[in-house]
Amino acid sequence: MQPNELDNLLSPIRDKLTGIERKSDTRVFLPCEAEHVSEICRFLFEDLGLRFVISTGIDAQDCFEVLHHFSDDESGCFVTVKAFIRDREAPVLDSITPVIPGAEWIECEMHDLLGIEFRNHPHMRRLILSDDWPDGVYPLRKEIRT
């Protein structure tokens, strides 16, 4: 995807992004703050028709990052929405599952492993940790030592 073409496509949500990081023709990052993530993902999924691939949760010491990866299959371009959650004590993010049903399980997994709360998730439950795992312990956080 060429730079000017990308800017045109993203112009409706340009004010919600904190920047457009263009790593290559086929790799674009869209950093944003946590409160805009569901609106941006709705735009990419419904208006641009991108395919939702997967999400990534990262504990970045001072904040949590949730990356929603989208693919434009025609051009082979990957677009990643990178949401920063600044509140480490009670990380909350809007769920994209009401818009994209395929994100249900990966959001449950991020909730299990990193303790990120997903607002408006329709069916949040323990997905991959064992049944006897203690509540409130999130194994992929940096402060956990084995």
């Binding site: 940790l129 064992s130 049944d131 006897d132 795992w133 194994p139 956990i144 084995t146």
Partner: protein, 163 residues
Amino acid sequence: MDWRLWSLKKSIWVFHVNTGACNNCDIEIVNLLTPKFDVERFGMKLVGSPRHADALLVTGGGTRQAAIRLREVYRQTAKPCVVFCMGACACGMGIFEKGYHMAGPIDSIVRQVDPHAIIAYVPGCPPKPEAMIAGVVKALGVLQPKEKYATERIGQPVVADPR
């Protein structure tokens, strides 16, 4: 006790338990049943219930979720029985040793139920089918009845008995 040991060794029916393996060991175990290795010529057979089994083939390192199930399966297995730890993970958790989701290697999980369990180890990632057969044969060789009337009565050595 002698006839129990003899009946344990005569034709081993095995039940396969996956406690979080990556499926590689499982595929090698299935490979044992194919015509190339054909363990049924030794009387070994995969069965669908631990209540029918003489041996448990355990693969995987033993995750917290699977440890409860493994202990339950061991309780249900007809005694006496042998536990075979197949692969590096089952023998000592392998690369998952310090993982947060692990409940310990297979032997320690089984010994929580039965401290005197008979446990054999076949390392490898995955172990070759030949190694698995050799491991079973060696384990059976160790399980010698004190009196040999069982072998004499049949008139031939116990199957897979190296002596």
